[in-house]
C-alpha cells in the first residue's frame, strides 16, 4: 500500500487548492468504501487522500418540486431512507439501498459511487433514467455535465484530476411516471451486480400512451448505458405485455458485456432482457394501479 497523507478540508476553496497537485497524486474521498480498498490493493496510489466529507457543498441535500439535489458526500443510507426519494425517485432509493451492506451504505456516497465509475455501479442506471446532471467544481470554475456524458469508461469520468464533484441534480420526474431498479446478483447481498437495469415509464393518463421511456443498463458495457432503441420503441405507444417484451429484447442490443469472474457475456445479455422486462412491467403495474 502506498503510504499517503490525509487532509480533511472544511471549505471548498481549500479542497480545490489541495486537488491541484493533480495527476493521480491526490485522490478525493467521500465514503471511502471503494477508495480505501483500492489503495490497499494498490489499484490506486495516492500520496494524499483528500477527505471531502467536511466540505459543506458536498453535504447539500434538498428535495422538492424543483427536483432533487444530492451533495456528492451524502451517504447512500440517507438517500435510500428519505420518503421523498422513495416516492418520487424510487429507482434511486432502491439502488442506493443496494450499494453494499448496511455498514457500507452508512459510509458509501452517491458521489463516490458515480466517481468510482464502475460499470456495475448500482446508482448509475437510476441516475441515467432521471437524466441527472453532475455539478463539478474545478480550477476554471463550476460546470454542469449531463450524467450520460459523465461516464467515459471503467473508472474514467468527465472529471479531470483537479476537479471535484459537488453534487448531483435530478430534475423533477415526469408526471404520471414510475421508475424501478433491479439488479441481479447470485447471493441476496454482498455482491456486485452481474447486470442491472433501471427503467422509467411515463404514461398519458388520458390515452394510456407512453410519453417517456428511459431504460439504463449497468454492468454490461464499459460504462452505464441507456438503451435508446428500446426507449424509442415504447414512446408514443400504449404499452402491452408484448411491447414490453419486445422492448426488453431490444434493450439487450445496447449491452456489450464482457465475460469475467461474475458472469459470462451471454448470461449477462440474458439477464438484461429479464431485468428490463421486470422493471418495465413493475412500472406499468404501479402506473395502472
Amino acid at each position: 500500500m502506498k503510504l499517503f497523507e490525509y487532509a480533511a478540508p472544511t471549505d471548498l476553496a481549500e479542497a480545490l487548492r489541495l486537488m491541484q497537485r493533480g495527476d493521480g497524486e491526490v485522490w478525493a474521498m467521500a465514503g471511502g468504501t471503494d477508495l480505501i480498498d483500492q489503495v490497499r490493493q494498490r489499484r490506486k496510489e495516492p500520496s494524499l487522500v483528500l477527505d471531502l466529507k467536511r466540505v459543506p457543498e458536498l453535504q447539500a441535500y434538498q428535495g422538492g418540486p424543483q427536483g432533487l439535489r444530492v451533495g456528492a458526500a451524502v451517504p447512500c443510507r440517507r438517500i435510500s431512507s428519505d420518503p421523498l426519494v422513495k416516492d418520487r425517485y424510487p429507482a434511486l432509493a432502491e439502488s442506493a439501498a443496494l450499494v453494499g451492506s448496511v455498514q457500507i451504505q452508512n459510509r458509501a456516497t452517491l458521489g463516490g459511487n458515480i466517481c468510482n465509475a464502475a460499470p456495475s455501479a448500482d446508482t448509475a442506471p437510476a441516475l441515467l433514467v432521471y437524466e441527472a446532471r453532475a455539478l463539478i467544481a474545478g480550477p476554471g470554475g463550476r460546470r454542469e455535465v449531463p450524467l450520460d456524458g459523465f461516464f467515459l469508461g471503467p473508472g474514467k469520468t468527465a472529471l479531470s484530476s483537479r476537479d471535484i464533484l459537488l453534487e448531483l441534480r435530478l430534475p423533477p420526474p415526469p408526471a404520471h411516471s414510475h421508475s424501478h431498479y433491479l439488479r441481479f446478483i447470485p447471493r441476496e447481498e454482498m455482491d456486485i451486480a452481474v447486470a442491472g437495469v433501471a427503467s422509467l415509464l411515463a404514461l398519458d393518463p388520458g390515452t394510456g400512451r407512453c410519453t417517456r421511456a428511459r431504460i439504463a443498463l449497468g454492468a454490461v458495457a464499459p460504462r452505464p448505458v441507456r438503451a435508446l432503441e428500446a426507449e424509442a420503441l415504447l414512446e408514443g405507444q400504449v404499452p402491452t405485455e408484448a411491447l414490453l417484451r419486445e422492448a426488453a429484447a431490444r434493450a439487450v442490443q445496447a449491452a456489450i458485456p464482457i465475460s469475467d469472474v461474475r458472469g459470462s457475456a451471454e448470461y449477462r445479455k440474458a439477464l438484461i432482457e429479464v431485468l428490463a422486462y421486470r422493471t418495465l412491467e413493475q412500472c406499468l403495474q404501479k402506473l395502472r394501479s
Binding site: 500500500m1 503510504l3 480533511a8 490497499r40 448496511v102 457500507i104 454482498m190
Partner: protein
C-alpha cells in the same frame, strides 16, 4: 535506504464513552487504530475490504466497517466497540442472548455481529426476521449458519432477555 513515512496525526476521539488522544498514521484504518493504538483488540479483521463485517463498530451511532474508515476520519467522533457494549458491569441483552442461544461458536465474527445487531435494534426495536437478516447480511459467520444468531436477536427484540 529509508522508506518515506508520512507523519502521524493527532486524533481526538471518544471510544466507548472514554476520551482518547491517539497519534495515528494517516493511512491507518480505524480498525488498526482501535487495535494497535488504543489496544482494543475485541474488534476483529476478517477480510480487510468490507466484505465480512467482523470489524463492525458504531461510528456516531451507525454501524460501519472499521476497516474501510481511515483513523483520522474519526476526529471528534464517537466510536462504540464490542468492549463498550456492556455498561456498568451489566451485559447488553444481546451479549446474554448470544451466549444463551448458542449464537457463537468460534467467536471471531461475534463482536461484529453484536454491533450490527445493536444497530438493528437501535433503529427498530421490533424487527421482523427479514429485517434482522438484512441487518446482519453484511456480516459473515462460517460456524453457525446464522440460525441461532437470528434467534438470539429475535429473543432480545421480543424482550425475552433482560
Amino acid at each position: 535506504m529509508a522508506l518515506r513515512i508520512p507523519p502521524r496525526i493527532p486524533l481526538r476521539t471518544t471510544i466507548n464513552g472514554d476520551p482518547y488522544e491517539l497519534m495515528v498514521k494517516p493511512y491507518q484504518t480505524l480498525l488498526e487504530a482501535l487495535r494497535d493504538e488504543a489496544g482494543l483488540t475485541g474488534t476483529k479483521e476478517g477480510c480487510g475490504n468490507g466484505n465480512c463485517g467482523s470489524c463492525t463498530v458504531l461510528f456516531n451511532g451507525l454501524p460501519v466497517n472499521s476497516c474501510l474508515v481511515l483513523a483520522p476520519e474519526a476526529q471528534d467522533g464517537h466510536i462504540v466497540t464490542v468492549e463498550g457494549l456492556a455498561k456498568d458491569g451489566r451485559l447488553d441483552p444481546l451479549q446474554k442472548a448470544f451466549s444463551q442461544h448458542g449464537a457463537l461458536q468460534c467467536g471471531i465474527c461475534t463482536p461484529g455481529f453484536l454491533m450490527a445487531a445493536r444497530a438493528i435494534l437501535d433503529s427498530n426495536p421490533h424487527p421482523s426476521e427479514k429485517v434482522i437478516r438484512a441487518g446482519i447480511a453484511g456480516n459473515l459467520c462460517r460456524c453457525t449458519g446464522y440460525d441461532k444468531i437470528v434467534r438470539a436477536i429475535m429473543a432480545v427484540a421480543r424482550g425475552e432477555v433482560d
